[in-house]
Symmetry: C2
Subunit: 307 residues, 2 copies
């Protein structure tokens, strides 16, 4: 049995062929068309057909950034891929490829992958966080993917931590993703560069990125190190809040920012210990993703198998 | 079949006899002894025996403020009733009264009551908040009481919303309960009185309480009204965060502060609408508790029946 998992991002659709043992046998990608539904569907179904030439696919799973309604199965809203708003992508794609198709929020799919075959195997309660341009998240509670009353659950990145804080892509202010994300790291560094003195970051070719700030931090740059300490503090507070509310056994962190791995998680663990209830903290581990950058793709395939 | 529910508070233990139809037939109370375990058990078991004289009790449920371990069934920590720390209250009480005894966090018990026979009948996903001295909370997710990996889940009141904020009884700073609770309302009013001009609150006999501030607000006092507007704003942000993360169908608010009912919930609803994702907000109602002040007691009895 073969399952195809697709991870739809703002710029690229990644697809992977996954077998019964959760292994990725082959993967390909295609650019995402964000503002023309016909073009989007055409690119996506071409990719599926391409895989069908070499393998008998049993079902297709698609991870999409945005809110998916569990009642209508439509994508309720997808700010980065506006052509998907109010589209029943499952039905639309199934009509073309004549296969079982399931959709899910991309971070929820990532959580499911880590739960089934990643860092969280065997656990019943975990949170998956993915730190990229934004902060995605998915919940596994009582041994299953938790999506809430309407399918919209798991949006931890839009927890308001500072109502007068930075503007967020969602239109509000002070969401945790405005500080804990690649974007947030760059904003924090840029603000510090306006007032602080010497820093390696002043010699870096623009644009400034989280990766360049990380490079400076490991080369001993004080300002860059402070940026990671502050980001790790917010991530730690965020983890403490999740631990107190949900008493999960594991918080799994993936995403592009995790190239900075232990530097960020070290700070986060220290602050989570400081802010969470000790018994709840003791029962939770904060670890790196095992499957990133493929977690969303693998999770989509496994949801196509299991749902 | 009769079930006895006990709600252990910092000053009083309330007990209610509940029948198969979730009705409270009789209720009594006794003072809580907080620092002597033998004395505490003696008072509590006397109360149970008193009920046993007039009814054949099938099981006893006890709601306790603090963290209860689902692994050991012991009360891991109870800051307001220190004699219960690390005590297996279920076993200790069962040994005396020779009945099935179950324990649970008091706010979790309240959530269970609202779910079974209160404001949340028929729903699968809800949050119960109780605004008193602190901010208690319990979660019903996917149609059952959610307590997390170790039983400690549901502690929303200790979500950090301002790391440099007010000191909290838990030893940290800036927990949401430092602003959204009767205690928080008094602190907010006291701070405003230091700088603002005229207010009815200046003529009130000490000590200042949330109830007196509410009375002043409904009599048109501007400062008191601002206190409720600010508290409602924080409660609204808290609700928005719960709605985005958990996509619940209902947030039920109980507790002593709910004497101020619609005044506080009106503000909270306005701000939750402003801060939550619109589709998630549309699927959630924010309502008053139907069972408060008996929700914890009834929930404990129903858990004794159902667990």
């Amino acid at each position: 049995m073969y399952y195809l998992g697709l991870d739809v991002g703002g710029t690229t659709i990644k697809a992977g062929l996954v077998d019964e043992n959760n292994r990725v046998l082959d993967s390909r990608s295609t650019p995402t068309i964000i503002d023309d539904l016909k073009g989007f569907i055409s690119k996506l179904t071409d990719l599926i057909r391409d895989f069908q030439k070499s393998a008998a696919i049993d079902a297709v799973g698609i991870g999409v950034p945005g809110l998916r309604s569990s009642r209508t199965r439509a994508i309720q809203t997808s700010p980065n891929i506006p052509c998907l708003n109010n589209v029943n992508l499952e039905q639309t794609v199934a009509d073309v490829v004549h296969l079982k198709v399931v959709t899910e929020n991309d971070a929820n799919a990532g959580a499911y992958a880590e739960f089934r075959c990643g860092a969280g195997i065997g656990l019943k309660n975990l949170v998956y966080l993915t730190l990229g341009t934004g902060l995605g998240s998915g919940l596994i509670l009582n041994g299953s993917l938790y999506t809430g009353a309407s399918g919209y659950g798991g949006e931890f990145g839009h927890t308001i931590v500072d109502p007068e804080g930075r503007p967020c892509s969602c239109g509000k202010r002070g969401c945790i993703e405005t500080v804990v994300s690649a974007t947030g790291i760059v904003v924090t560094a840029t603000a510090k560069l306006k007032t602080a003195g010497d820093s390696l970051l002043r010699q870096v070719a623009p644009p400034l990125t989280a990766a360049k700030i990380y490079d400076a931090a490991i080369r001993g740059d004080q300002l860059a190190s402070q940026v990671f300490a502050e980001t790790g503090r917010w991530l730690g507070i965020a983890c403490a809040n999740l631990i107190n509310l949900l008493n999960v056994e594991m918080i799994i962190v993936g995403g592009g920012v995790m190239a900075s791995g232990e530097l960020l998680l070290g700070h986060a663990g220290d602050f989570a210990r400081q802010y969470a209830f000790p018994p709840s903290f003791e029962d939770c581990r904060i670890v790196q993703s095992k499957l990133w950058p493929d977690s969303g793709m693998i999770g989509a395939a496994l949801l196509a198998r299991d749902r």
